[in-house]
């Protein structure tokens, strides 16, 4: 790869008050790639994603499409084209489906193009159109996750960060969601960085993966290679 990756993170530290959660992370996401970020509870997956968008205090370098990101707030990350689908989906239960989607397009002022994105998103999730006046809190868990992804797409992002999209969902729904992510990635060229505990599903979808342990990256490589390596699988992937 001659071109610089779309997202390039090096020596990234993040802290909550006095406590440092990330101790110097380095990772990259190539344009058009799906990359998995694996690790147990508390390993720092959520913190890594939040550090990239600047929701938490960070030290280190985050470069996105040639721009230095860190030191700026999440607004700039959003404006530059990073959609963050947060942990626990982050759908606004008391807002309607439509309002949630419009929130995704918050940084975009051109209404015509926002409606264009809406049409495209409805192409992936046709049920959204029928239920756009429904309160998001009345959707099922899987539907809320899909709404969260759809909302991320409303930003017309170059990169989507997904924080445990499988959380609390039935295996069949998880498969459906990852299949959709692959389609979105292939069809629209949206790069994806997905944090997951469900390693099998994530590694199947991703080309490349990083494994986090207590705030450090301990293993990284091609997904297929990680899947084949029994030692890594047993030590870090837990099955």
């Amino acid at each position: 790869m001659a071109a610089a990756p779309l997202l390039e993170v090096s020596d990234l530290h993040a802290s909550y008050g006095e406590i440092e959660a990330l101790h110097g992370i380095a990772l990259g996401v190539e344009r058009g790639a799906i990359v998995a970020l694996l690790g147990a509870n508390g390993a720092g997956k959520t913190s890594t994603l939040r550090a990239i968008t600047g929701v938490v205090k960070t030290k280190g370098t985050v470069r996105f499409g040639g721009n230095a990101l860190n030191g700026h707030g999440p607004e700039d990350a959003a404006r530059l084209g990073i959609a963050h689908v947060p942990e626990g989906r982050g759908t606004m239960g008391a807002l309607t489906v439509w309002e949630n989607l419009m929130l995704g397009a918050y940084t975009r002022r051109d209404r015509k193009r926002v409606l264009g994105s809406y049409e495209r998103v409805v192409g992936y999730f046709p049920w959204l159109a029928e239920r756009k006046k429904q309160l998001a809190g009345t959707l099922s868990g899987g539907e809320q996750q899909m709404l969260a992804i759809a909302r991320g797409l409303m930003m017309e992002p170059q990169l989507m960060l997904l924080d445990e999209p499988s959380l609390g969902l039935a295996p069949i729904v998880v498969r459906e969601i990852f299949a959709l992510l692959k389609t979105i990635n292939a069809r629209d060229g949206v790069s994806i960085l997905v944090a997951e505990q469900n390693t099998t599903v994530a590694l199947e979808a991703a080309t490349h993966a990083y494994v986090l342990e207590t705030g450090r990256i301990v293993v990284s490589g091609e997904s297929q290679a990680l899947l084949r390596d029994d030692g890594i699988r047993r030590s870090y992937l837990g099955y």
Partner: protein
């Protein structure tokens, strides 16, 4: 779009009723209904701040005091007409509100409620302390309201100020509806529901939270002015901490999730104590408490929320009422 047509019809009917009331009810009732309009404006501000943005204020009586005193001082010292002093009251109160909003950025829930309540508690003492400006315990007497000469034969002063108040209310309701229906309203509610998620879409929490405080304080300032002018008198004891609590209770009773709640709440604040007093003089505060508990249990959306649901004749959607009662989801900090 049937819903929107229905809503416009309802707004039109309410506007017509408000316009005709002074010619139907006795003069004293018109006077009371003027207060209803002012309280509705104050509650509308609370609906923006607490209902939409989730920030609790137990100190809004202080902004009523700011509004009332600004108008009183400007009239007393400089003979300024209220057409000029009401906007000034709104601006001054709004600025104080933005100041409190900055403090509120660091506080949440109970802590915010307590911080704002301390403002409410301090208000009467502050007013007494700066007696040179505020007239101290004696307060300030305002000049009586007079209808403009053209209307002098048509409207009594009471009716005139009734229309002034409700004109303010009408404009402020329209402005609020305009903003709450769009991007601003969405952002306020999104921050209430899930701040981290909202922020990651580019919503600036500091801007909107401070905006909500300033907005609601400005409305409370206008309400305070609109109360002080027909009362023709302001004194520290009109702004006890009970006033702040009454406003919040009025908002919850009326319905804090819908703008209609401001109307219902205004009516409750003005008339509930009067109705209850007929039973027993000490009853109002008890009844406020009981009414509040009943509303929480029986009609979580308040009076307006419950009426809306009945009118829309839809079965209560799961989560519709229930969702309001649950804690807003907050992402777990790692």
């Amino acid at each position: 779009m049937r819903l929107r047509a229905d809503r416009n019809l309802a707004v039109a009917i309410v506007a017509i009723v408000i316009a005709l009331l002074p010619f139907i009810v006795p003069s004293f009732s018109t006077f009371e209904l003027t207060y209803v309009g002012a309280y509705a404006i104050a509650i509308l501000g609370l609906i923006v701040l607490t209902g939409m943005n989730g920030q609790i204020s137990l100190g809004h009586g202080a902004f009523l005091a700011v509004g009332g005193y600004v108008v009183a001082i400007l009239a007393h010292r400089f003979g300024l007409s209220f057409w000029l002093s009401i906007p000034i009251a709104a601006i001054v109160s709004g600025i104080v509100g933005i100041g409190l909003g900055f403090v509120a950025l660091r506080l949440e829930g109970v802590y915010l409620a307590l911080a704002t309540f301390s403002l409410a508690v301090a208000t009467p003492s502050i007013l007494k302390r700066f007696g040179d400006l505020t007239g101290g315990v004696m307060g300030i007497v305002l000049p009586p309201v007079a209808a403009p000469k053209v209307l002098a034969g048509v409207l009594t002063p009471v009716q005139w100020f009734y229309y002034v108040t409700w004109a303010f209310a009408g404009v402020l309701f329209l402005v609020t509806a305009r903003f709450l229906g769009g991007r601003v309203g969405r952002s306020l509610r999104a921050l209430r529901d899930n701040e981290i998620a909202a922020v990651s879409f580019g919503v600036n929490p500091h801007f909107y939270k401070t905006l909500a405080f300033g907005w609601s304080a400005a409305f409370a300032g206008i309400a305070g002015a609109l109360i002080a002018i027909p009362t023709a008198y302001v004194s520290p004891d009109s702004y006890s901490s009970l006033l702040s609590i009454t406003l919040l209770i009025g908002a919850v009773l009326g319905g804090i999730d819908t703008m209609w709640g401001a109307l219902a709440g205004g009516v409750m604040i003005e008339f509930l104590p009067l109705w209850v007093q007929k039973i027993n003089n000490a009853a109002p505060s008890v009844v406020y408490g009981v009414a509040l508990i009943l509303v929480m249990l029986v009609m979580p959306g308040g009076i307006a929320g419950t009426l809306l649901r009945l009118v829309q004749r839809r079965p209560p959607a799961p989560g519709d009422a229930v969702l309001r009662r649950t804690e807003p989801t907050r992402a777990v900090e790692q």
